[in-house]
Amino acid sequence: MNATAPVSPSSKRRLRMQEFGLAGVVLLLAIILGTYGWHDAAPGRPNTFLNPDNLIDGIATPMSYYAIMAIGLTLVIITGGIDISVGAVMALSALGGAAVLQTLPEHAPAIQVLPIAILVPLLIGTLCGAVNGGLIVGLRLHPFIVTLGTMSIFRGLANVLPAEKTLPSAGRQLPKAFTLDFMRIEIGGLQPMPLIIMLIFVAFGWFYLRMLVAGRETYAIGGNEEAARFSGMRVGWIKLRTYTLAGLAAGLAGMVSLGRFGTASTSTGSGYELTVIASAVVGGASLLGGRGTAIGALLGTLVIALIENGIVILRLAQEYRLVIIGLAIIIAVSLDRLGSMLRNR
């Protein structure tokens, strides 16, 4: 007779505990940096860390591109896959958007500019994602190999297709309705648009994973693809959809970056894929599949962003930036591993 009651905590609670843990790390970093920033501030000057300008321009804006892509990538990682082409897709989307937008007059009305400014990068990103998904599903190739290839192809296209290395071309400017009035819109003296878009996308990711059948299918495939197939799930479709969404996220990141900087270059988003993967993993996504959340991806990105910002605030040598971030990734994942080992005992 097997009367032993299972003692392991519910899977839901495990996820939440992980998010709380990350939130704790964020809080700890914020307290450390806030205290230092308070000490460090010149008399009568605001806290060098805890001030709206640093929080928005120093942390939220630069992390927005990473966070948006980390959520897209988290979907992919949950299915047990990987996408390392996101940085290149971001570049291609931003360049595509710039190429179309620079043909519009500088003072074109918002009603004409915004749909193009938003839809073109999203469309390019979606298309690239669909290509990734199509190759992975159609040819049954390993996602790492496929996106290694497409990363090179997309980056190559970003080098070849535009007439110049940077768009808009010399002497031209993107419509102000997009770059100034929309993306740098001022609320209370701050420019929070990238933060707002990021939060909207986090909400979308949360809704998708938690509330939709599609989200459940994503987890099921990552947890056990064979069992998902045996339950009648269309595994191929679900994967295609997931990679397409990751592409869409990269397109959105491209759009934000284009609007924020007013330019896109062939090197936009270069090397971002590694930071994005790191963010997703620090956020609790398991490369083995089946685990990860949108909130986790946001918090994971935030941890890395805080460390990056901390290097500036603490006036540490920038040369050590990569070393510190690398250590942070390994520590975060080991702590998570240790935590789940302790819980499962």
Partner: protein
């Protein structure tokens, strides 16, 4: 011949609370070929593995040639002269035959691999069993039979006194098996003590001097020479008194035909299967491992793109080869390998139970969590699933409860045909009874059920009829009245072929 060359003394071994061997005492004489026989799960392979140092007995011990031995690894066993030819072949598929034959002690010269002496050693080993193979070929290029020969050559290369064969013919064709038998006979003639684990009677009768039969992990008896008849063996294999916990299948007169299969074939897997399953009927499928039973389940469920034939469900033709079509037609499959195909171990019970009915539990793609919870709650009550909560991950449940979750998943779909493949594998006795009762109840509720099982008592007691398969063919059908463990066993092992063997 000295009696008791190998002596097992009340050997017990359990895996995760399930006893595989309990108090087995057995003695084997030097130079004999000793058969170990029993049903699936009777413990015959486990006993072989204890001797080969793979499993360490929990209790009891063994001695070889009068010396007590306590092996803690296959290395120890090899040192004592015991080698084993495994059922699953363990090799590095991308290395060459020569490299595999010298694995672990590759000859070196100046710190580098000495290819010449490695190859000559490999050739010598193969020649010793009269096999001519290209030693440069990779293992991947070889047939299963050739791989096995390499394994035997490797085993003999350790110059053993005792050689154990574990189900050596399970993946061999008839002529290949014949060559193996000749090889075993020649090894015996060289004075090796051979332990031959199998459940195929004809080959045991041919090769073995004596046969020991195991039943439910216990020593059931021994037969020698003229006593070795199939009825004697079957009596020893079956004589169990645990049968009473399997309920007699109660559902009465079968209803109208639900599933009709005509000339279903899949090249290399099974051929020309024709049968019918009525509502309320449990049709058992018996056969040895590899006889093609699970393959039929896969084909009906749409997992075999090469399957051809005519399948109709309630008069409607089913397009074979698509899971979606099979599901739509109302076919459900509780697969053989629960952990790989049945459930998502890391997900909550409730999420597993709802997995096949998500479209019904949602509106415009939005998941209705409260009906998901109530479905899970109902399933828990209905099947008395024991877990910390409906949100506990499936991996925290016992095997029996995991299986109930898989069953609950399919019951939620309310299909018409339910295929259950080895429903009680790895499940403890209490849960077994509950699953049997459940399968029986589902039949009473009008499901047409296909029961694939390697456990004869289960088949005999639950089935309305039993279809027996051998080597991918339907070799007989036994009505409820004619079904006994003995009759099924004879048909499936081919002792008494009804239609002539091809």
């Amino acid at each position: 011949m000295s009696e008791g060359f190998i002596q097992f003394r009340s050997v017990s071994k359990s895996f995760g609370g399930v006893a595989a061997l309990s108090g087995v005492t057995l003695s084997i004489a030097q130079g004999e070929c000793h058969g170990l026989m029993g049903e699936n799960g009777a413990g015959k392979s486990t006993l072989g593995k204890v001797l080969a140092g793979i499993h360490r007995p929990d209790e009891g011990g063994l001695s070889i040639d009068g010396k007590p031995q306590m092996f803690s690894s296959p290395r120890d066993a090899l040192a004592a002269g015991v080698a084993m030819v495994h059922q699953e072949l363990a090799f590095c598929p991308d290395l060459s035959v020569a490299e595999n034959l010298c694995l672990g002690r590759i000859p070196r010269k100046w710190g580098m691999v000495d290819r010449a002496s490695m190859e000559s050693r490999a050739k010598k080993l193969l020649a010793a069993i009269g096999v001519d193979l290209d030693v440069h070929a990779t293992m991947r290029e070889l047939s299963t039979a050739q791989e096995q020969l390499v394994q035997i050559a490797a085993a003999l290369g350790t110059e053993p006194r005792i050689l154990i064969f574990d189900e050596p013919t399970s993946s061999l064709s008839q002529p290949e098996a014949e060559r193996l038998f000749e090889l075993v006979e020649s090894l015996k003639a060289r004075g090796l003590t051979i332990i031959y684990v199998s459940h195929r009677m004809p080959e045991l009768f041919r090769l073995c001097d004596r046969i020991s039969v195991l039943r439910d992990g216990r020593y059931a008896g021994e037969l020698a020479g003229g006593e070795m008849t199939e009825s004697a063996v079957v009596r020893l294999m079956i004589g169990r008194d645990l049968d009473h916990y399997i309920p007699e299948h109660l559902s009465s007169a079968a209803g109208e035909p639900v599933l009709t299969v005509r000339h279903l074939s899949s090249p290399g897997r099974f051929e020309d299967m024709s049968f019918e399953v009525r509502a309320g009927e449990i049709v058992g499928f018996a056969g040895l491992v590899g006889a093609g039973r699970s393959e039929i389940a896969r084909a009906l469920f749409g997992l075999d793109p090469r399957a051809t034939g005519e399948v109709t469900i309630k008069g409607e033709r089913l397009k074979v080869g698509s899971i979606q079509e099979s599901l739509k037609a109302g076919i459900s499959l509780v697969p053989e390998d629960r952990k790989r195909q049945g459930c998502v171990l890391g997900m909550a019970c409730s999420e597993n139970i709802s997995m096949a009915v998500l479209p019904d539990l949602s509106r415009r793609g939005l998941l209705d969590r409260s009906s998901e919870r109530s479905l899970a709650g109902k399933s828990f009550a209905d099947l008395s699933i024991k877990a910390a909560s409906i949100e506990a991950p499936v991996q925290s449940l016992s095997g029996g409860n995991q299986q109930k979750v898989v069953l609950a998943k399919w019951l939620a779909r309310k299909g018409r045909v339910l295929i259950v493949d080895e429903p009680t594998r790895g499940v403890d006795v209490g849960a077994k009874a509950a699953i049997h009762a459940l399968v029986d109840r589902l039949a009473c509720e009008g499901f047409a059920i296909l029961l694939i099982s390697s456990e004869l008592p289960e088949l005999v007691h639950l089935s309305s009829r039993v279809i027996v398969m051998r080597e991918g063919r339907q070799v007989g059908e036994l009505s409820r009245e004619a079904v006994t463990q003995e009759s099924v066993l004879r048909l499936m092992s081919g002792v008494e072929s009804s239609p002539a063997r091809p």
